[in-house]
Amino acid sequence: MPAEQETPTNRRSRGARRRPDQVPSPVERIPPRSGMSRAEVIANQRTRIFAGFAAALAYHGYEDTKVTDIVELAGVSRATFYERFESKELCFDAAYEDGVERLTVAVEAAAREERGWINQLSAALRAGLAFLAADPALAHLLFVEALAAARPARLEHERSLERLADALRGPVALDEGTVSGETARMLAGGLASHLSGRILAGEAESLPELHDALFHYLLAPSLAAPRTTDERRAAAL
């Protein structure tokens, strides 16, 4: 019997993180001679490589994802991949950074639309959850694989948590003062670990449903007594 040719979707994976329910879909390609400048083509290739990496990761897990899987899903050549990135590891770091950047932009844009820290927090949380729900493969990369990857990515993750913690401290004193740095870091860590668990369980798409519970959670240390969401809002405004 002739051996079936291996593709990213039928290759047998030894990986414990393999998610057979998440068959990767190829990344949208650009038609040739589309009138793009050289810089645009390079940017587009980067984006596609990141998306291909995320799609391959969600399926194979980090250790078992090969450059072959990435380039096939991204629709770029091996040579192009190695022109842009020295190794799978460095590509992962870049993909992580790019993903965090886009998540941050989405969250900050939503926060700017609102007035008052409480409303900004709620809007930012909603936007962040929606962003992750819209791209489960990226959510998996950011919240599952980044924790399992080699050290540089984890240090990067730690820095992301510090940024989140700073944002959670809030600009104003609520009730009896602002949240301490340690508490904010704990809130950020708890949020990331909870999201990570949900994403790992294949529930990325339903993350927006967690908004109210997570909103309560993030506010818990800032506000004195347990109240309903409306009362919390009223008290804080």
């Binding site: 414990a16 993180r17 399992a148 860590g189 708890g190 790992l200 997570l214 818990a220 240390p221 347990p226």
Partner: protein
């Protein structure tokens, strides 16, 4: 609660005396029953995993590291475990079970909310006194794949259940708020361990207890109980 925190010893979890359970057996015919040898090798591999993980991390740890550290053959490893992950999961189960048991017995005669303070304090002391166990529970379990993460969630849920006993229900708060907060506490603990401050973990007791109680008691009372 004793003054000297207990030590986690995988051998103590078996039916065998520690020195027999973990010692390398003499090669060749020693007349020991087969079941003894098998159990001995299993526990030695578990103890080896605990020692090796802080040096290499889960991802980089190889079966070779484990068999060398344990002094058993590769085939003996595969007679015990089908994979590194399986060995990890069993070790994690023993370690987290031991930690939760320790917390549970420490809080047995305490009522909520003091229960939270005593339980968190005991957990931090047990982790501080057992650095390889702390490393396994707080750091490696997050990196050892989905099954390990699932076990970690279950352990947090068990710990939350132990700590919330006796607290009245607050339907306006999310039911899994304590798990979320404990997940946060675990990430603070992990950062301390990564910064080589495992032994100073008990220093963060008050901060963690305060965070865990604030949603239920408000800041003033929480601070009083945590202090």
């Amino acid at each position: 609660m004793s003054d000297e925190p207990r030590r986690f010893d995988p051998a103590g979890l078996g039916e065998l005396p520690a020195e027999l359970a973990l010692g390398q057996l003499p090669a060749g015919k020693h007349g020991l029953p087969r079941s003894f040898v098998v159990r001995n090798q299993r526990l030695r591999l578990i103890a080896a995993l605990l020692r090796v993980l802080p040096r290499h991390g889960y991802v980089e740890t190889t079966i070779g590291h484990l068999t060398r550290e344990a002094g058993v053959s590769r085939s003996a490893f595969y007679a015990q475990f089908s994979s590194k992950e399986e060995c990890f999961l069993e070790t994690y189960g023993l370690a987290s079970g031991w930690l939760c048991d320790g917390v549970e017995s420490a809080v047995a005669s305490e009522h909520w909310p003091r229960r939270v303070r005593v339980g968190v304090g005991e957990a931090l002391r047990l982790l501080a006194a057992n650095p390889p166990l702390a490393h396994l529970i707080a750091i490696e379990a997050g990196q050892a794949g989905p099954a390990a993460r699932q076990r970690q969630r279950e352990s947090l849920a068990r710990l939350a259940e132990i700590l919330r006993t006796g607290r009245s229900d607050r339907t306006e708060l999310p039911a899994d708020l304590e798990e979320l907060l404990l997940g946060g506490a675990l990430s603070v603990v992990a950062r301390r361990i990564e910064n080589d401050r495992t032994e100073q973990l008990p220093e963060i007791e008050a901060a963690l207890v305060e965070c865990l109680l604030i949603p239920y008691l408000g800041p003033t009372r929480s601070r009083k109980i945590a202090a």
